[in-house]
């Protein structure tokens, strides 16, 4: 085969994108260029950019292997029938309006391992020592090295508002974000309280009155980096806007030094926006660490960021002088001041900006740690201000956050082991670091973690052994009590869902293995049953007693993914799971894996709504509406939002909500209101 042949074949395999047909000259391109101009203009006005060191890099150490072939495994575990807790409510999601602060969960736990440092000097020495052990010729593998040159001061964004919000009326039933755990709200791109819909899309925050279906206020955030992937919480008349990852390059870093090149985050910015009248930024917080995730628990926002020490390593030139480079980098670490490790943050409130450093008496460490990364949890009440975010830090890394109403767990992994750190957040004060533990393998996402009845259950995949395992840990010590190993050998983990005493695990591969787990004795869980079907689910949602809805992909004759599949499982008898019905939409890829926030379950009418994505330019996305019966699924229809422009760029539906009797579907072009009963169009709120 000649190189030209290969290039031709490669060209044919190129997936089409929305950028292929003259995107840069389209109106969507105009918008993007305008946002770039807004930022370059700001830079010119603010003069010389400040220089500071920032480092954050997460090596892509784990490729999710390509798998052409799929089959479903639903493994089911039954835990602790003799448990002291009464029947655990199996949550069916849905229109639970936020109901007051959650009860305080248990007593404040004691410290289970050494947590603090004795003195600041002791901390500095320990961090130097732990960090120096991991220095390489390139600096630290966890982070990049060198000097970043970007800094974005929080500035007031321009606010627009047409008419003020309507007065209080009776609030209709409404859906809420499809959160993993009750009492721990997750940030998303749209929130509703039944009276209004607050969204952030394309870098613009909008308030829509649910009754009049009119945009009542907008706040253009596009002058901020990360505005395009902003998320928010809404609490009363306040929105906490979390700006997306802010990308920054190292000035002089060698491009090819790391597998995916060097790169770093410029920290994260959080905006507190008042929605009572014209949306206005009232307070800002900028952290030097990169945003990981957040939860709103009992009215308190808990924001997790991770930072790396600010160490000015020399440039790595890869000319075979590794030993010298390591020695030089080690010297950099050994001479670094404590402030290199201590996270810093800036708050702006009432026009005053102040810079703070996390004090050393609020920094802890696990027994084993490397000093290459620092996790900080900031806490604040959105009803007040961001100016006192009560940070606490732990010498650890973070990539996944899981929380209940009482505890927040931060997890990170190096590909071989997953480190887990527990923070108690049962009151409104600063979290308390309880301790750390670890399990083999790596986490898929937060749905792989579950706290239940004094235990923390963890599902991980071990890449080397290509197998999935479930671990039951004591939640107080994070020590292992029991495990089921060897699930789905040779397969990829695809979805995990814990519901009270039950655990569902989906893996997939070419043959059809099938597992049932019996966790009746958490110290000695065993395999108990299994189910095999074609295709796989990558999101599982409880829809009724003994019924589970799976959203995933079907597989065709060539064993290639062929389109969205929705499955209804009967899991009433954990030993005999079965599939009652399934719906397949060929050639209509859904977002895969499905973002749980994109899934809507409305129990009152037994309706599931799933966005169907499209990668093709000119093709608008849709939302599939499915009625779920006791033992069958019925496609009620699809809802299409109008395209955003003549090019039809990005008209996919990202979120769906229910308010009263209406289904709201959100795309970048606006919010379409349809009758939940008939799917007939009721109104259209354009995002212009």
């Amino acid at each position: 085969m000649t190189d030209d042949d290969l290039d031709r074949l490669l060209g044919a395999a190129r997936p089409p994108t929305a950028a292929d047909d003259g995107w840069a000259a389209s109106t969507a391109g105009d918008d993007s260029l305008a946002a770039i101009r807004a930022r370059t203009a700001r830079r010119t006005r603010s003069g010389r950019p400040s220089v500071r060191t920032l480092r954050r890099l997460r090596p892509f150490s784990l490729g999710i292997g390509f798998a052409a072939v799929a089959a479903t495994v639903v493994a089911i575990g039954v835990a602790m029938p003799g448990s002291t807790s009464p029947r655990h409510p199996v949550r069916a999601g849905g229109p639970s309006s936020p109901s007051g602060p959650p009860p305080v969960i248990g007593a404040v736990p004691g410290q289970m391992a050494l947590a603090g440092y004795d003195t600041c000097a002791a901390m500095r020495d320990a961090l130097r020592q732990h960090t120096a052990q991991h220095v390489t010729a390139r600096g630290l593998d966890q982070g990049g090295g060198g000097i970043a040159y970007d800094l974005r001061e929080p500035v007031a964004a321009t606010a627009n508002q047409s008419t003020a919000g309507a007065g209080a009326a009776s609030t209709p039933d409404h859906s809420t974000t499809n959160d993993q755990e009750v009492g721990a709200d997750e940030p998303d791109i749209v929130k509703t309280d039944g009276r209004r819909v607050v969204s952030v899309s394309g870098g613009v925050l909008r308030v829509v009155d649910a009754g009049t279906r009119k945009v009542t206020g907008t706040l253009d955030l596009r002058a901020y980096a990360g505005a395009q992937s902003a998320q928010l919480f809404v609490a009363g008349d306040r929105a906490l806007v979390i700006l997306g990852q802010q990308y920054v390059l190292y000035g002089d870093r060698a491009f090819g030094a790391l597998p995916y090149g060097g790169g770093s985050s410029a920290g994260s910015t959080f905006l507190l926006v008042d929605l009572a009248a014209e949306p206005t930024v009232v307070s800002t917080l900028h952290t030097d660490g990169g945003y990981v995730d957040a939860r709103l628990i009992g009215g308190v926002a808990r924001v997790v960021v991770a930072s790396s020490p600010k160490l000015a390593f020399g440039q790595y030139n890869g000319d075979g002088s590794d030993k010298k480079a390591v020695a030089a980098n080690r010297r950099v670490v050994e001479q670094a001041p404590l402030s290199a490790w201590l996270p810093t943050y800036q708050t702006t409130d009432g026009g005053r900006t102040s810079t703070h450093q996390v004090p050393c008496d609020r920094v802890s460490h696990p027994v084993h740690y490397t000093g290459e990364s620092m996790v900080t949890v900031y806490s604040f009440d959105p009803a007040t201000s961001l100016d006192d975010p009560k940070p606490i830090s732990v010498a650890a890394d973070a990539s996944t956050v899981y929380a209940t109403a009482g505890n927040l767990y931060v997890a990170s992994g190096d590909g071989n082991r997953t480190q887990l750190h527990r923070f108690w957040v049962g009151d409104t004060g600063a979290p308390r670091y309880v301790g750390s533990g670890s399990v083999p393998g790596w986490l898929l996402d937060s749905y792989s973690l579950s706290e239940y009845d004094g235990t923390l259950r963890v599902v991980t995949t071990n890449e080397r052994r290509q197998a999935t395992a479930l671990y039951v840990l004591d939640a107080d010590t994070l020590r292992r009590r029991g495990e089921v190993d060897g699930l789905g050998v040779g397969e990829n983990l695809h979805a995990v869902r814990f519901l009270g005493p039950l655990a569902y695990v989906v893996t997939f591969e070419s043959v059809d293995p099938l597992f049932v787990l019996d966790l009746a004795d958490p110290d000695h869980p065993v395999k108990a049953g299994e189910l095999t079907v074609t295709g796989y689910s990558d999101y599982l949602h409880p829809v009724a007693d003994g019924r589970l809805l799976g959203v995933g992909q079907d597989v065709d004759r060539r064993q290639l993914v062929s389109g969205l599949q929705v499955s209804l499982f009967d899991v009433a008898d954990p030993a005999k799971p079965s599939r009652l019905d399934n719906v397949v939409r060929r050639h209509t890829p859904s977002e895969s894996p499905l973002d749980p926030h994109a899934f809507l379950w409305w129990p009152a009418t037994h309706t599931a709504v799933i966005p169907i994505d499209s990668w093709n330019p000119g093709q608008s996305g849709a939302a599939l509406v499915v009625r779920v019966g006791t033992d069958h699924l019925t496609v009620q229809g699809t809802v299409h939002n109008p395209a955003v422009s003549t090019e039809g760029y990005d008209a996919g539906i990202s979120r769906t909500l229910v308010i009263g009797d209406d289904l709201w579907t959100m795309s970048s072009s606006g919010l379409l209101v349809s009758s939940l009963q008939t799917l007939d169009r009721q109104g259209w709120v354009a995002f212009s």
Binding site: L62, G65, Y247, G262
Partner: protein, 171 residues
């Protein structure tokens, strides 16, 4: 030409390819964020940009993307996308070949995929691709040669019809 005009021209001529590169590797929102960051950076470093600039732009996009720390699910977006891509194609012979190639490509290392796609999908010359990857043109040539071999091996192992042209080439 002032710097603003220069930015406009740069954007109009190159943003398509940069965005396509990003859309192949991340979600739409992150792609927009990184795209904007690439051009903001280009504006700031206008004096350092090589001509043609596409290799620098894609290399910058690549580095910015490297720190997208959204967890395991996004670790190899391109491989995932190639795995699910066949759903958007017609079931013709051409698409069967494309499927086979996509499958083989997804099975390669991320580095090999990067080396192969920079030229085949975004039309970079050897020199531009080398700049995007931060290596010398001669290193890129070697990497490309090896990656092509590995891709051909995979296709051969899969026994796909597209390889008939290989036999022709050997004649």
């Amino acid at each position: 030409m002032d710097r603003d005009e220069w930015l406009d021209e740069l954007f109009r001529s190159c943003a398509d390819r940069v965005l396509a590169y990003l859309l192949h590797r991340t979600d739409r929102e992150s792609a927009q964020d990184v795209l904007q960051e690439v051009f903001v950076t280009a504006y700031r470093k206008a004096d350092e940009l090589p001509d043609p600039p596409i290799g620098w732009l894609l290399g910058t996009a690549r580095r910015l993307l490297a720190n997208d720390n959204r967890g395991a699910r996004r670790r190899d977006e391109l491989a995932r996308r190639l795995a699910t891509q066949p759903t958007t194609m017609n079931e013709s012979d051409d698409s069967a070949t494309a499927t086979a190639v996509g499958e083989a490509l997804a099975g390669l290392s991320a580095n090999d995929r990067e080396v192969l796609t920079l030229s085949a999908w975004y039309g970079l010359t050897g020199e531009e691709a080398a700049r995007a990857l931060g290596c010398s043109a001669s290193t890129y040539a070697v990497r490309l040669h090896r990656a092509r071999h590995r891709l051909a091996d995979r296709l051969r192992a899969a026994g796909y019809a597209g390889l008939r042209s290989a036999e022709v080439a050997h004649d």
